[in-house]
């Protein structure tokens, strides 16, 4: 993704302030990532006095999406941006490419292997990739199941440190 801080500098002070609030809203299922890290904030703008925040779903069935919308609204209310609206948009499907570098680092520290490579080559090649263990950095890992604890993760096992771990799927 394009360097977010340079984009932000071009925004009005008010919109920058709103982004600062969004930086405090965490993904309820991966509570080390902010909604900004996750790349689901597609647009923030002010229209006729109302702050419009456009967000996109990661997976269509993701049960966290409604919670995220409520959390965003709540955080903005707390920061005195009381006239806001959160919209769901689909114009382009979300991709793990939109997760920030900072977000990928936080995932690894949290024990979730961040998405590796690009999703452009198609998801089906995904299962044959070498995934690096987030705990001991070993490449000697194997997939247990393509479907993990949430829609966005697969379940892996490290054959060196023997720990099971979640891998945030390239999507």
């Amino acid at each position: 993704m394009v360097n977010q801080s340079s984009i932000r500098e071009q925004l009005s002070t008010e919109i920058q302030d709103i982004y600062n609030v969004l930086d405090t809203v965490l993904d309820p299922e991966v509570p080390v990532l902010t909604v900004v890290d996750l790349g689901i904030i597609r647009s923030v703008r002010k229209e006729n006095g109302t702050i419009q925040v456009d967000i996109c779903p990661t997976y269509s069935g993701c049960p966290a999406l409604d919670v995220i919308a409520i959390d965003i609204k709540f955080a903005l209310d707390q920061a005195c941006f009381t006239n806001s609206k959160v919209n769901y948009i689909l114009d382009q499907p979300w991709t793990t490419d939109w997760i920030s570098e900072d977000g990928k680092r936080k995932l690894k520290e949290y024990g979730i292997a961040p998405p590796q490579g690009s999703p452009d080559k198609g998801q089906l090649g995904e299962m044959d990739k070498t995934i690096i263990c987030p705990i001991c950095d070993s490449k000697n890992t194997e997939m247990i199941s393509a479907f993990g604890s949430t829609a966005c993760k697969s379940l892996y096992r490290c054959k060196d440190c023997l720990e099971p771990f979640d891998y945030f799927k390239c999507h």
Binding site: Y59, S60, G61, P93, G122, Q123, L124, F147, A151
Partner: protein
């Protein structure tokens, strides 16, 4: 157009509901979680279609389509309301449908309708995982033990007559084919090649049938859909307009 979107939404909701019945009953924990994830994808996709449909019909919400329609108003494919029976039947049903679903979404992704193509692009990514899951299991069961081979073959045979409905156009299909060029007959030959290759790789025999089962898209369902709706709609029917 409205009917076409409901057709897609109903397919997703009914299959999602069926697969969700496995929640807590999967053969092993990983497969239980996989099936539940897949069910969630389908229900999420159904919501997107119903939300789109509700924008075309003032006063309706996505919930109205799921909770307040009767069996004859549902337009899902007959295959998708068939019971889970054993793991083999569940896999066979998903396998036939997932391969068709992926081809259909690929066509819809590039169709001229912006709303539909956006949903299709989102769903396509998810359904490629579904395809991988169900076709891997067809191979594993087919090329597994004598018992697993026998049971997946039986399931493929029993469900095959329902697959003709994928490619038998309804009025809504014809409308979309005419306007946006999504041609089911083209998908049919692609589907046959893909499915036959996987079935062969799984050391199984491709079924044939002279008796296609049709009618779901027109609202002519088996008694099985009624049982699904009874469970799905119980709260809204018993306590109308209840929310939480």
């Amino acid at each position: 157009m409205h009917n076409y979107i409901l057709q897609l939404g109903d397919n997703s909701l009914i299959l999602g509901h069926r697969i969700s019945e496995w929640c807590g009953h999967g053969p092993v924990l990983e497969q239980d979680i996989a099936l539940t994830n897949i069910a969630l994808d389908h229900v999420g996709q159904a919501r997107m279609y119903y939300q789109l449909a509700s924008t075309m019909e003032p006063g309706k919400t996505e919930d109205d389509y799921a909770y307040l329609r009767t069996v004859t108003e549902y337009k899902n494919l007959l295959l998708l309301e068939q019971e889970n029976k054993d793991f083999g039947y569940t896999i066979a049903r998903s396998f036939y449908y997932d391969q068709f679903h992926l081809l259909l979404l690929r066509a819809l992704k590039s169709c001229g309708n912006k709303d539909l193509s956006e949903i299709a692009a989102q769903a396509y990514k998810e359904v490629s995982y579904h395809c991988r899951f169900s076709s891997d299991w067809v191979k594993r069961l087919g090329d597994g033990t004598e018992e697993s081979h026998r049971r997946i073959q039986r399931a493929l045979d029993d469900f095959f007559p329902y697959t003709a409905e994928f490619f038998t156009p309804s009025e809504a299909d014809n409308y979309v084919s005419g306007k946006y060029g999504v041609d089911l007959s083209k998908l049919s030959s692609q589907w046959s090649v893909i499915v036959e290759n996987i079935v062969r790789e799984a050391t199984l025999t491709m079924p044939t049938t002279p008796y296609p089962q049709l009618g779901g898209k027109q609202g002519h369902h088996s008694e099985k859909l009624g049982f699904i709706l009874t469970e799905l709609q119980y709260m809204q029917r018993t306590y109308p307009n209840s929310t939480w």
